[in-house]
Symmetry: C2
Subunit: 319 residues, 2 copies
């Protein structure tokens, strides 16, 4: 029996989840706290280690803590820094340095999409793949590109920002300041914008028309589509079309075996994945036709984020 | 003194160049023959080894042939095959198998753009780079993507086809059957099409207007631009704009240190590279601004193709 385990931490906009995970992806113990329970990163991690101290102490009796993996927004694998994290009250901080106050084992960080990609490769839908692209569909669109079994970090650690390829020339203003970014269409925020636009031009009825536009959420579009609402289905079709034809441009970059969809909005399943499949296939260069799968994440919903950060550190310890 | 050398072969649409190259990139001997001097690949290589047999024999007296590297259109690194090569009279052929009739050392093949990327990394402008993208601008647009010091081949060996990302939605028909591909604008063929379009709408004079449209070549646009012809300069500006803003989408994939431009049309130098620089910088996501260089190839013109295929096999022998 292997007695090594890692501490895995996923810093989300709302909750920070953490757990003890062995090499097979078995989560021995887990817990979470509100990310804003600490105004600074130092406060948050102080709270986390206080809250988890008894569990850690107990497990250390007959197990070995061998490393810590952290997934966090805007986290840089090379430098250990988190810079200007959106939706957090933190300033810039070097998490690897900070964690050395709490543990004396290797600490590795990366952004949530890269962590998800590694989780997928070790424990999920990409177990036998060397080349794939993880797409995280939530409030925004993140991505982790895997080439030859390794996450692509590029010259500065920021590679794999497919939310910010141009999907529509001169299109919607994106949060990043550019125009027409993929994220401005294919994300929870983007699908709501598309819904509002299409509600203005619809002939006939839709259950979405009975919801206040200001309060419309991506979940409403999902529920309506599940009910067979024609407008909602067309909104998913439109979103999948933009996503599929834009990802056709990513195929010619790294020729991945699959796009794997993770995150809140990916839980719409085939409602979004089917149009992505069709429009990817229709638009991709001939030599790649029929080669690239479009798959849902294979990570179990409840432990998914923890498994990503766990894979990150296990991967590092193995290499 | 190192007495090892490789045989390097570049199969071009018109000429096939070959040479003996040592590990430092020094070309001991070289020669070439017309690619169509053999109707099949077997005939071509029979002629090549006959033509080169005396030189090879002479060098083998006090040198060791340790490998063969071949750059060829549509060549697949994984399988050793060349499939449906454009502009050649060949059928599908496995070059690695074929070459075993002539030599008893390792043989590696890849396409010309990947070979150029490897040449750049070993002997040219990318000597100290781990992450860059080689763009070959000739009749078409090819590319070789390097991540962590390795060429990206993807699941099937066909990764790095940036000539076939969508540059203009619903744009020009491309040779590949898709619409609006980058290659349909940024290539010798593409720039001529742009010239013809712009000649139709120009106010004022241009030396290009005195050339028969049917006979116009990219070289004419280059010469006119060098003479300061306003229309020709605008054609380069337009081409560089499309190229620069489209490559901004490649930056978010692999975050390269540089795009390095190789091939006939790249010899226009800053006439094409300056607008590429400006429009890349203008369109790239904020976190990447000021980080990605746009450089001309550092490979010496006369030996460039040979050095690419030489780097391919040296790289393989070293790994």
């Amino acid at each position: 029996m292997n007695k090594d385990f890692v501490l895995s931490i996923d810093v989300g906009g709302t909750n920070t989840a953490f757990g003890l995970v062995d090499k097979t992806g078995y989560c021995i113990a887990k817990d979470s706290l509100r990310t804003n329970s600490g105004k600074t990163a130092e406060e948050l991690f102080t709270h986390l280690f206080m809250q988890f101290s008894n569990t850690l102490k107990e497990f250390k009796k007959d197990h070995h803590l061998v490393g810590v993996g952290i997934g966090a927004p805007n986290a840089n694998y090379y430098t250990g820094e988190v810079k200007a994290p959106p939706n957090l009250t933190w300033h810039d901080v070097n998490l690897v340095q900070l964690l050395s106050q709490f543990v004396d084992v290797p600490v590795v960080i990366t952004n949530d999409a890269n962590a998800a990609a590694l989780g997928e490769m070790h424990f999920g839908a990409a177990k036998n793949m060397k080349h794939f692209i993880e797409i995280t569909l939530g409030t925004g669109l993140g991505s982790g590109i895997v080439v030859d079994g390794k996450v692509v970090y590029g010259q500065d650690g920021f590679a794999g920002e497919l939310g910010h390829v141009t999907a529509i020339f001169d299109g919607r203003i994106c949060g990043c300041g550019r125009k027409g970014c993929l994220e401005a269409y294919a994300s929870a925020t983007g699908i709501v914008k598309t819904a509002v636009e299409m509600m203005d031009t619809i002939n006939g009825d839709s259950e979405l028309l009975h919801i206040d536009k200001e309060k419309l959420e991506s979940r409403d579009v999902f529920v309506a589509a599940q009910n067979g609402d024609q407008l909602a289905l067309e909104i998913f079709e439109k979103t999948g079309e933009i996503l599929g034809r834009t990802l056709a441009n990513s195929v010619v970059h790294t020729s991945p075996e699959a796009f794997i969809f993770f995150g809140g909005m990916a839980q719409a399943g085939d409602l979004i994945l089917d149009p992505v499949r069709r429009h990817l296939e229709k638009n991709v260069m001939k030599v790649f036709k029929g080669k690239t799968k479009v798959l849902p994440s294979g990570l179990p919903g409840t432990d998914a984020a923890i498994l990503g950060a766990a894979a990150l550190i296990w991967n590092e310890l193995d290499s």
